[in-house]
Symmetry: D2
C-alpha cells in the first residue's frame, strides 16, 4: 500500500483527497489553515503539521494549490516539501500553474533527490467528487506509471501528455478553449437576448446542434437562473488565460481571440465579479447593453 500525502484541501483538493482515502491509500493531509483539515482528522485520517513531515511519511506527495507562488512556497518554505524529499519521493504537482513555474518546481524536486510529475486536472467540483477529473500527466513514462494508481483514484481518464511540463501545457490548452468558449457564449447570449430571443429557445437550439456540450448546457441553465455561485471563478479563468497567453508569446503563437477573451474576464474582475463563477463574464456585457439574460 502506497502512502500518499495531499497538500491543499480547498474546494477541489478536499474531494480529491477523500477519493484517495476511499481508494484505500494510506492518506496524510496538510493544509495551511487548519479548519480545512478538521473533517479529515475527525475521520481518523492523519494530519501532518508541516509539508516536510507529510513528505517524510509518504511515497507520493500531491499538491493542489491556488497558483505558482503557493506551490513554490509549499516546496521552499521552512519545513517545506523539499526538506522532506528523498529518493523514494514522487511529487505530483496538480495545481494549475505556468509552464516555467512547473519546470522550476521539477528542478527543485529532482535536485532534492526526488521524482516529479505535473498532473493538473481538468474539471470542476462535480467531477472532483466523482473521481472523473481528466488527469493531464507530464513526466517520465516510468514515473507517471508509478503514480498512475494514485491519479486513477481521482481521475478518469488519466492522459499521459509527454515529458514534465506537458501536463501543464495540456491544462493551459483546455482552459484556453474553455475561457474562449465561455466568453463567446456570453457574447452570443447577450446578442440573442438583445434581439428579443428567449433564453430557453437559445438553449434549445444549442442543445440540438453541433455545439451541444456540458459547458453550454450547464452555464446556460445557471445564467438563466441567475446563479453565479462559483464552480470555477472568474479570477481563476483570468489567471489561466493569462498563463496561456504568456506561454503562447514564448513559443510564437499569436492568439487574438483568446486575447479578447482574457480582456472580457478582466472586465468582469474590474466590475467586482472576480470571485463569482466564470459565467459572470456575461455581466459586464449585460450592463453595457442594458439587457438581462435571465429566464423569462
Amino acid at each position: 500500500m502506497t502512502n500518499v500525502g495531499f497538500i491543499g484541501l480547498g474546494a477541489m483538493g478536499a474531494p480529491m483527497a477523500w477519493n484517495l482515502d476511499d481508494a484505500g491509500f494510506d492518506l496524510v493531509v496538510y493544509n495551511r489553515t487548519t479548519d480545512r483539515e478538521q473533517p479529515f482528522a475527525e475521520a481518523g485520517i492523519s494530519v501532518a503539521d508541516s509539508p516536510k513531515h507529510l513528505t517524510k511519511r509518504c511515497d507520493v506527495v500531491c499538491l493542489m494549490l491556488s497558483d505558482g507562488d503557493a506551490v513554490a512556497e509549499a516546496l521552499e518554505r521552512d519545513l517545506g516539501v523539499l526538506d522532506g524529499v528523498d529518493e523514494e519521493t514522487t511529487v505530483v504537482q496538480m495545481s494549475t500553474i505556468g509552464y516555467e513555474e512547473t519546470l522550476a518546481a521539477a528542478e527543485m524536486v529532482t535536485e532534492a533527490g526526488g521524482r516529479f510529475v505535473d498532473a493538473p486536472v481538468s474539471g470542476t467540483v462535480g467531477p472532483a467528487r466523482e473521481g472523473t477529473l481528466v488527469g493531464l500527466a507530464g513526466g517520465d513514462e516510468a514515473v507517471v506509471g508509478g503514480v498512475r494508481p494514485v491519479l486513477e483514484a481521482m481521475c478518469d481518464p488519466v492522459v499521459h501528455c509527454g515529458d514534465v511540463g506537458q501536463g501543464t501545457n495540456m491544462k493551459l490548452f483546455v482552459n484556453l478553449l474553455l475561457g474562449d468558449a465561455m466568453s463567446a457564449f456570453a457574447e452570443a447570449l447577450v446578442f440573442g437576448r438583445q434581439n428579443g430571443l428567449s433564453v430557453s429557445d437559445m438553449r434549445t437550439v444549442i442543445e440540438n446542434g453541433a455545439l451541444d456540450c456540458p459547458l453550454f448546457a450547464g452555464k446556460g441553465a445557471t445564467i438563466a437562473d441567475g446563479d453565479f455561485d462559483s464552480r470555477f471563478p472568474v479570477d481563476y479563468q483570468f489567471k489561466d488565460l493569462s498563463l496561456a497567453l504568456d506561454r503562447a508569446g514564448d513559443i510564437g503563437v499569436p492568439l487574438s481571440q483568446t486575447a479578447a477573451a482574457r480582456e472580457a474576464f478582466s472586465a468582469a474582475r474590474a466590475r467586482g465579479y472576480g470571485e463569482e463563477d466564470m459565467a459572470a463574464v456575461i455581466k459586464p456585457l449585460e450592463e453595457t447593453a442594458d439587457v438581462s439574460v435571465r429566464e423569462d
Copy 2:
C-alpha cells in the same frame, strides 16, 4: 396535400428538397442553373421554368439561396416569386441572410398579398440529408403553424423563435457562436501543437470534458486528417459573422471576441481558403506559427 415549391438546389437545398419529396409533398423545384434540377426531373419531380411559375403552382414556396442578394433577385426578377404570389402563398425564406434583408423580403411578399416566414436552418449537409436540421422559424404563430409540417419534413426540431426576423436573428446567434468556437478551437490546437502536444491527446482531453460536442469531435478529426473539403465554407462563416456584427452594431451589443473571430476568417479568405471548410480558419495560424496540426 400541400403543393410545395423549392428554389435553390445547392449542397444544402437539394437534400432538403428530397426530404420534402420523401415526406409525400407534391414538390416543384427550381434552380437558376438547370444542371442541379436534372436529378429531380429524372425522378419525375416537377421542374418549373421560373420562380413565378413555381409560385403560381404552390401553396408554400421555400427559398434556400446563397445570400441576401440572391434572395432579393429570386423575389424581384422578371418572372420572379413576387409575380406569382397571391393570398394563398406562404413564402418560407430559409437562406441565411441579414435581419434587414429579411424584413425587406417579408415586406415585399406581404405587399404582394402573401404570407412570410423566415426559417433559416442550423446544421450542415449531414443533418440536411437526415432531416435533422434545426429549423429556426420567425413569423406569426398561425402562419408558422401552417407550414410546420413542411418544415418538419426537413427539420427536427422546429423552434418558433418569435415574429418575422427572429428566425434570422436566432440563426445569427447560433452561427456567431459556431464561428467563435471554431476559431477558438483553431487557436487552441495550434497552441497545443506548438507546445508539442499530440493531436490525439488533445482530442481525447476535449472529448472527456465540459466541451465535448459534435463540432470539436468532427473538426478535430478532419483537421487531424488534413481534410478541408467543405461542409460549411470559410466564406459563409465569414459572411455570417459579418451579418451578426452588423446587427450587433445596430442593437448596441459590442462583441469584441466575435470581432476577433471574424478577422481570423478574413485572414483565411485572404490566404485563399475561402471555399474550403470553415476548419481551414486554422491554416493562417499554422502558417504564422510554422507548425502543422495533423495527426502524428
Copy 3:
C-alpha cells in the same frame, strides 16, 4: 465664374458652403430642412427648392450628407439631383460613404450623362471653417482638374488619390487610423489614471515624444476638461470603422486591432454616448474600471 451647388448644410457642410461663397463662386444651396438654409438666404445666397432645380442651375454640385442612404436619396428622389444632371454637370460627392455606395452613385450620375468625383474630406469643424480640410479626390484626372478650384476653396491640400472610389478609400484609410488612435488613447489614459498617474503628466509625456499630434493634444485637453461636445461624434466614427471593416473584408485584409476599436465605439453607443464627441469612447472604459480621467 462657375455656378456651384451645395447640398447638405450640416455642421460640416455649412462652413464649407460659406467658403465657396467667400471664394467668389456663384453659390446655390439646398438642405432637406429649411432652417439650415435660412442664414444663406439672409446673406443673399440662392436657395433651391429641390436638388433637381439646384442641379439644373449649376455646373458643379457638391453633396455633404450624413451617410450613403442620404446620398442615394438626394440623387434618386423625385426632383432629385439625377433629374437635373446633364452633360455639363459634375457631381462632387464629399460625404463619407462606403466604397460600393460610391461606385453606385458614380454609375447613376454617369448614366444620367454627368461626370462624377468622390471627394470626401478629412478634418472636423475647425478646418472646415478655415478651409483647411484635406480633400481626398477620386476620379478621372481631367474631371478632378476641372473641379479643383472648387475643392481648393474648401480644402488645403487637395490630394488626387486615383480613380473614382479612391477618395472614399483614402477617407476610410484615414478614419480607420483615427478611430484606432482615439480608442487606443482612451485605453492608455484609463490605464495610466488607474495607476495613479496625473492626466497633465501623461499629456506632457505624449507631447514630448514620437506621438505628439493634434489629435492627442486636442482630445487630451477636452477629456481632461470633461468636454465631450461633439466635433466628430461616436456614431460617425463607428460608422466609418464599420465601412472600413466591410471594405477590408471585401479586399482580403484582416484588421484585428481595428475590429477591437469598432467594438469600443459600439460600447460607447450602447451606453448612450453616440452623439457625444468620439473622445467619449473613453467613458465605458472609465465606468468599467471605475476611474475618472479628468484633470486633477
Copy 4:
C-alpha cells in the same frame, strides 16, 4: 562633482553614458561584455570590473539593461550592485521593466541602505544621442531632486511622475500607446495599399491631419523604403505590451485593443522579425494580404 556609474552600454545605454561624460560628471561604466566598454576605456573613462566596484565608487548608479531579469541579476549577483550600496548611494533604474519588478528592485536597494529612483526613458537612439529622451522619474521628491542634474544630462524633459514605480507605470503608458499606434498604422497602410492607394499619398494625408506625428512620419518613410533596421525592435515592443497588459490585469483595466496589438507583434515574432524594427509588425499583415507597402 557627482560620481556617476552607468551599467549597461547597449544601443541606448552607450549614448546616454556619453552624455553624462559630456555633461562633466565623473563617470564610471560597466558592461557584462567588455567589448562595449572598450570605446569608453579608450576615451579615458573609468571602467569598473564589477557592479559592486562601480557602486562603491559612485553616488549615483544608473542601470540601463534589457529586462527585469537582467536588472535583478545586476543587483543580486556576486559582486553585484547590492554588495556596493551604502547610505550615500542612489540607484537610478532606467530600464523598462515591470511594475512589480521595480518595487522588488527598490526594496532590495533600500534594504541595503541606499535610495532608489525608477526613471525609464521614452525615446529611441536618436533622442538618446541628443540628450532629449523623456525621463520618467518615480520616487521620493527629494531623492528625484537629488539626481535631477544627472537625469537632465540625458533627458529633456524630466517628468516626476510620482512615487517609486510611477516612472515605470508612465513608461508602460507611453509604450502601450506607441505599440497600439504602430500596429494600427500597419493595419491602415496595408488596408490602403490593398485598395490601390499610393504610399506617398497616404503619408501626405496623414501629415496634413490630426494624426501628424513623428512616429507616423518616421515609420511611414522607413516602411516605404523597406528599411527595417531596428531603432526599437519588435521583441521589445512585444515585451512592453505584455508588461502593460500584466499590470492592467492587476489593476482592473481591460484593454481589448492593446491586447489585439500585442498579438500583432507576437505574429511578427513568430514570423522571425523579432529583432527588426517595430515597424516590421506590418510584415505578417502584408504576407497575409499578399501586398507590399513599399514606395511605388
